[in-house]
């Protein structure tokens, strides 16, 4: 179990990275994609148990360092790591 912090540029803030990714998707033929916004995901591993006080501190960590409230929005929630969600099965390529 991790605490996941997700950070996205505010809707009114231009996202040149997302725009560049969208352009590349269209070049590759993924014409069904109408828009891309690129953000960041942080998976925080804890030293101890998670409780309300710890969650409040992590919210502070998110708004102090992980996100810049001037240009970004963020969420803090309990979640699985992407690795856990993906499972441990070998990829088709056997890597």
């Amino acid at each position: 179990m991790s605490v996941v912090v997700e950070v996205m540029p505010k809707p009114e803030i231009l996202d040149p990275q997302g725009q560049a990714v969208l352009n590349a998707l269209h070049r590759l033929g993924f014409s069904e994609v109408a828009g891309v916004r690129q953000g960041k995901r942080f998976e925080l591993e804890l030293t101890g148990e998670l409780d309300e006080a710890v969650l409040a501190r992590l919210e502070e960590a998110a708004s102090t360092l992980l996100a810049n409230p001037v240009i970004e929005e963020h969420t803090v929630h309990v979640g699985s790591t992407v690795h856990d969600e993906a499972g441990d099965e070998p990829s088709p390529a056997g890597v």
């Binding site: 803030i13 231009l14 040149p16 725009q19 560049a20 810049n68 001037v70 240009i71």
Partner: protein
């Protein structure tokens, strides 16, 4: 008079900034990111570069370096602070200046000699310029797009806190062509272009940038 130039891991332009300080007739002192001692300097320059590899966001990690605690305290006490490029990003992250810098709207790094209009000549760093003066200094940044909420932009305009504005075409999508701004008391200035690279015709497009460094001498003497 001594002007401190802070070196962070990944700072690139600290030597050029120190050289500009010396060209203007002041002593340049080297300040280290991990040391909260400001060595008795009278003013501070946060130079350009890629502090901490621009990890997380430009300036976001440098903002919490030990030296920044002292810089923030000194700035609040009225010491002149100039942030150039990455230094401007650090000042915004440290909330010493409002707004933020995001990736250029053109999606590429921009490196060119840039025309600017100096609009506020009452700051500690621009008193040697004429209001409306056109200057040319290098601009070299990938994340130089200045953004802030509308209300903040309006306040900056109303209070005359836009120090330099891009002249001609806007190179990076900065809102209202803003290239640099100042604090309410005019002591803190941040800008994306690099005046320290325009102090000698041999190594830059001219000497238009020297005024930032000569201005601060007068401001400290008169303070």
């Amino acid at each position: 008079m001594r002007v401190g130039v802070v070196t962070f891991p990944g700072s690139l332009d600290d030597q050029d900034a120190a050289r500009a300080v010396r060209y203007a007739g002041a002593d340049a002192a080297t300040l280290w990111h991990g040391d909260d001692d400001l060595a008795g300097v009278d003013a501070i320059v946060l130079p350009g570069g890629f502090s901490y590899g621009d990890y997380l966001r430009c300036g976001a990690i440098a903002r919490f370096a030990p030296v920044m605690r002292s810089v923030v305290d000194a700035a609040h006490a009225g010491m002149p602070v100039l942030g150039i490029c990455n230094g401007f990003q650090i000042l915004c992250e440290a909330h010493l200046l409002p707004g933020a810098l995001i990736r250029n709207d053109v999606q590429t790094f921009v490196c060119r000699d840039q025309s600017l209009t100096v609009e506020n000549v009452t700051t500690a760093w621009t008193s040697d310029y004429q209001e409306g003066q056109r200057i040319v200094v290098p601009l070299k940044s990938g994340e130089g797009g200045y953004v802030a909420p509308q209300a903040t932009l309006d306040a900056l305009e109303d209070e005359g806190r836009v120090v330099v504005r891009y002249a001609g075409s806007n190179p990076n999508g900065s809102l209202r062509d803003i290239a640099g701004i100042t604090s309410e008391n005019g002591r803190i200035v941040g800008l994306m272009p690099h005046p320290e690279h325009a102090i000698d015709a041999l190594t830059g497009p001219g000497t238009d940038g020297l005024g930032f460094f000569s201005s601060v001498l007068a401001s400290v003497v008169s303070a």
